[in-house]
Each structure stands twice: as C-alpha cells, then as structure tokens.
Amino acid sequence: MVSAPDLLVQTVWEGLVSGVLYALIALGFVLIFKASGVFNFAQGIMVVFAALTLVGLHEKGVPAFLAVILTLGVMFLLAFTIERVVLRPLVNQPDIILFMATFGITYFLIGFGEAVFGGNPKQMITSELYLPKGAIDAKILGGFVSFQKIDIAAAIIASIMIAALAVFFQYTRIGRALRAVADSHKAALSVGISLNQIWVIVWFTAGIVALITGIMWGARSDVSFALEIVALKALPVLILGGFTSIPGAIVGGLIIGIGEKLGEFYWGPLIGGGIESWLAYFIALGFLLFRPQGLFGDKIIERI
C-alpha cells in the first residue's frame, strides 16, 4: 500500500490540517452544547457568516483589523439576538425542538448573508491580517513534502485558542458558571447564575471561534457558501469525540481529517473517487455501533 513514504507524509499532513479545521468547527458546537444543551446546527453557517462579514467589511473600505473588531461586534450582536429571540422563548423545550430552531437560524443567516454581502466567492484578506503565505518544502523520506505556511499558522492558532478555552473553562469565574449551567440549568439558576447572560457569553464565544475558523478556512480556499457543506463534516467529528468534550472535538477532528484524506488517497480511486464526501460519516457511523456516546462523551443514562 505504502509505496511512496513521502506521499504518505504529505497526505497525513493535509489530513491533519483539515482535521484541525474540522475540530475548530466542532469546538463551536461543543461550547454551545456544553453550556446550554442546544445542538447548534448553525455553527457551520456562523463560520461562513463571520468570514463573509469580515471580508465584506474590508471590501467596503474598513481597515483589516478594525474589520476584525467590527465582525466581533456583529457576532456579539448575533449571540445577543439569538438568545433574546430564539432561546429565551424556547427554554425548557425538548432538545429536538431547539435543534430544529437552529435550522431556522441557519436558513436565516444564509439568506441574510447573501442579501448583504452577495453570494459570490470572496478572497480572504490574508496578507492584510499578516498571515503567512507560501509553502515550505522539506526533504522527508526521500521526497519533498510541502507544508503550506498558512496551515502551520492555523495549527498554532488553533492550539493557542484551545488552550485559552481550557483555561477559561477551568479557572475563571465565568468558566465555572458555564460548567454549572451545563450540569443543571435549575441548580445554576438557584445559586444566582444568570442563564441569559451565560447563553449570550457562550454564543459569543462560539462566534469568536467561528470567526477564527472562518479566517483559517477562508485563507485556504475562498470564502463562500460552499463552506456550509464542509462545515457539516463537523458532525461526524462530534460523534467520534462526544458532544460534551473539548479534547474529544480535537481528537475526533484529527481522526476524521487524517482518515478521510488517507481513504481518499489510497482507496478512493478504486471505487470511483470523491469518497471524501461520505467517508467521515461512515467512520463515525461504524464507531457509533460500538460506543454510542463517543470517545470522551458522557454516558447517557435514561430512567423512566
């Protein structure tokens, strides 16, 4: 199978990078699921929307870094609106209803984003944000392996963000409150934690993660609504890692990313190619049969 070790390294590296980006999208899901029990289908479109807002603002003549800050403001406004308009009236509803409500958010954001910024693919403002371009060629195992600088930067930024989130959840007051809300809405309310405030914070955090993911994805390919389909790849990642686990999102992302690139590279041509579109789901599906709660997920115990 492995006739060219350098090609294997290249494939694994590419899988690793897309795995990191899947993991970032999954991270947004996990944040929201942990803190409110809402399975946020709209995370993928939030990534697209954040990136579009950033590029769109820059096109309108806003300097790059001011555009970043303004986009963060937009994401905060989005979090606030979602809490006010969608989540608050639906509190205490079954999970599946909240899940469907996030479909509504998804469709609204698709329409809104296209109406405001247009549906055409846009170029991410890589150089204005001082993100590196170009590639490093390294001689590994008798061949050249090419590492895109932007991918290395993405991996580093992702690691920093994940570490920051871990610290945020573990050591800050808000982080503790978030974990309390995740354990039990009622108990958290009874000790004086404001549920509404927590929701805004956590959706805003997910918005920040979405913006960073959007910048990184956008820098690799264009910013367009095609990303929406790519974002659906975060779902198998979640299944692998478990819905409530940040390390799970990362490990799951890497497994899916590498597995799918290797599968496409070695077995794809045998059955017609393009198997990347469903391989991730099958990896996750096979996994579900053995461990339904995912690698790091909490075991679901149900009583009548």
Partner: protein
C-alpha cells in the same frame, strides 16, 4: 352553526373510531377531492398544473413520508432526498429492464427499493437517537448522492450521467416522457397521492401508528409495554422511505422529466422537506399537505406576487428573502405554534363549531 355534530349519533364502535366522524368533514373531503379531480384540470392551465400542482403533490407525498418517521415515530432524518433519489433511480432501472410493465406499478415498486435502503440506514436507530441519528441519516444522504453520480450502472452508462425518462403510456395515453400532457401527469400524481394518503391514514390510526407514537413519546416505556422497538423503528423507516421513494420516482418521471437527477436530490431538498413537516405540523397528515403547499409556493409567491403588488424584487433578492423568511418562520412556528399549520386548521374548525358564540 355550520359545523356542528349535534344529532349525529354513533351506534357502533367502528363509527365512533372513524377518521372523519362528522358528516361535514366527509362532505368537505368529497368537495376537496372533486375540486382536485375535476375542478383543477378544468380551470387550471398547463403552466399552473405543471409548475404548481404537480410539485405540490410530489412534496406532499415526501412530507407524509418524513412525517411518519419524524412526526409519528420521533426519529429525525436529514436524508429524505437521498431516499427519494433511490426511488427515482430504481424506477429508471426498472423501466429500462422491464419496458412492458405498467409505469405506475414500477413507480410503486421502486418505493420498495427505497424502503429496503431506508431500513439499512435505519439500523443504527436501535442504538442511537436524536442528533446522533440525524448524523447517521446524513451518512445516507452523502453516500447515496455520491453513488448517483459515481455508479454508472445506476444511469445505464449514459454519457450525460443523467436519467433520461423514456416514453411510457397507459391505455395508449403517454404518461411519462416529453409527449405526456400536464393533465395526464397530474392525474397520475393525484391518484397515487390520494391512495397513498388513504393508506398512511389507516396506518397511523391503527395498531402500528399507536406503537410508533408510543416509541416517539418514550421509547423505553414503549418497550416495557411490549412494543418491539426493533420492529417499530425499522418499519417506520421502511414506510417512510417507501413514501419518499415513490415521491422521488414521481418527481423525476412525472415532474422533471429527467435531467440533472443527481443534483436534485441534494441536502437542500432534504432540509426543505423537513421544514414542510415542521411548519405543517409534526405528527399530522393534513399538516404535510399544508407544509408542502406553503414551502413549495413561497418562492413563487415572492417572485411573482410581490412585483404584482408593486414591490420590485429581483430574482436573486427573492431567493434571499425566501431563505430568511423560511428561517424566521421555522423559529416563529416553533415558538408560537409548535403543532404547525395543522393546529391552526384545528382551531379554525373548533371556532366554526361554536360560531357565533365564543364558547
């Protein structure tokens, strides 16, 4: 006043359990069927029948299928379009293999293939539910969509890679293909939808429907009461996919007439059918029709209706507005009326029953 059950006594259990216990309801259904079978073909022109009524019927059938799975059994599915695709491709293969067989029979039989595939992808539902199952059905969506493009056997090794709908006729009248008239196709669609709706109505009112609803409301409790979860869930998948498959076959053979079949059965279509079910009303057959009518007609209304009212709207803007409106409506319906348009219909009937008094 107009709608009152006073004086309508029931003397048998069968009459008491009837689907339409009120005489007015039975008359109403008869009127609706008369309009559908006689009125619309007489009044409507070909454009109206081909671009409004046939899509509406196809979507209604698909929505009934998904409603059986999601509304009645509580298993969420994001792969409806893929199961529709299975029906379409199965029908294509069947009609090229057996050109002499009646096309309507083949459309129904292709639903069985879809049911088989549905059961296969429904197997994980035994161990997983909720969001996990949604992801499992996404696997079906992406895998089957891939297969429609990459497995040349499915489209008979056509150079175009698309389904070419052949001419098939019934009693000498062309039903499918380019020469079939809109009216003929409409009648075939309508007949299939009426029969299958009647069938679904009997299913959900019977023992099987009750067991589905028990599984939906609490599966563990249902299991304790002696309902076999395996059978109930897999049957729900089978019936649901059967309906989706028939709808898919109808979609290609009676509506699109071939073309970009693989592109049609994409995830957007799956979502749209889910929205029809949510907005129409989860767990309601009549809601499936309301939802299908609403979602299917919304883009047309925005595109043609608003400019007619004097509000200028370009095609692209209409599309954006459609997206935003659908998204907003889903949220509004979930918050304000979780039972969807079907519940509004029930409220209207209740009001009519007591009219002109408020109680």
């Amino acid at each position: 006043m107009f709608y009152r059950e006073a004086g309508q006594y029931k003397s048998t259990y069968a009459a008491d359990m009837a689907v339409f216990p009120l005489r007015q309801d039975r008359i109403g259904i008869a009127v609706i069927l008369a309009i559908a079978f006689i009125g619309i073909p007489m009044i409507g022109n070909d454009f109206f029948i081909a671009t409004v009524m046939i899509p509406f019927l196809v979507f209604s059938l698909a929505a009934i299928g998904l409603n059986i799975l999601t509304g009645y059994t509580g298993l969420i599915s994001l792969g409806t379009a893929a199961f529709m695709g299975v029906g379409a491709y199965a029908c294509y293969k069947l009609t090229t293999l057996f050109p002499g067989v009646n096309i309507i029979v083949l459309i129904l039989v292709s639903g069985l293939f879809s049911a088989a595939i549905g059961v296969l992808f429904g197997l994980p539902s035994l161990r997983i539910k909720g969001f996990y199952l949604a992801v499992a059905t996404l696997a079906a969506q992406f895998f089957l969509q891939w297969a429609f493009v990459r497995v040349p056997w499915l489209f008979n090794y056509n150079a175009s890679g698309a389904i070419e709908v052949p001419l098939r006729s019934l009693f000498g009248i062309p039903v499918t293909g380019a020469s079939a008239s809109a009216e003929t196709r409409y009648f075939v669609c309508l007949g299939l939808v009426v029969v299958l709706t009647w069938f679904a109505s009997n299913l959900v009112h019977g023992r099987l429907g009750r067991s589905w609803m028990a599984v939906r409301d609490m599966d563990i409790a249902a299991e304790l009461m002696g309902i076999k979860l395996l059978n109930a869930k897999l049957l729900a998948f089978a019936v649901s996919s059967f309906y989706a498959g028939v709808a898919g076959a109808m979609m290609i053979f009676l509506w699109y007439g071939g073309g970009e079949a693989a592109d049609v059965f994409n995830i957007r279509l799956s979502f749209n059918i889910l929205f029809m079910v949510i907005i129409g009303g989860l767990g309601s057959l009549i809601g499936s029709f309301f939802g299908a009518a609403f979602i299917a007609s919304l883009p047309t209304i925005l595109k043609f209706g608003l400019p007619a009212l004097g509000v200028p709207l370009s095609g692209a803007a209409a599309e954006h507005v459609t997206f935003m409106l659908v998204g907003a409506l889903i949220i509004i319906f979930l918050i304000v009326e979780p039972h969807g348009l079907a519940r509004l219909w029930q409220i209207t009937k209740q009001k009519l029953r007591t009219w002109p008094f408020p109680y």
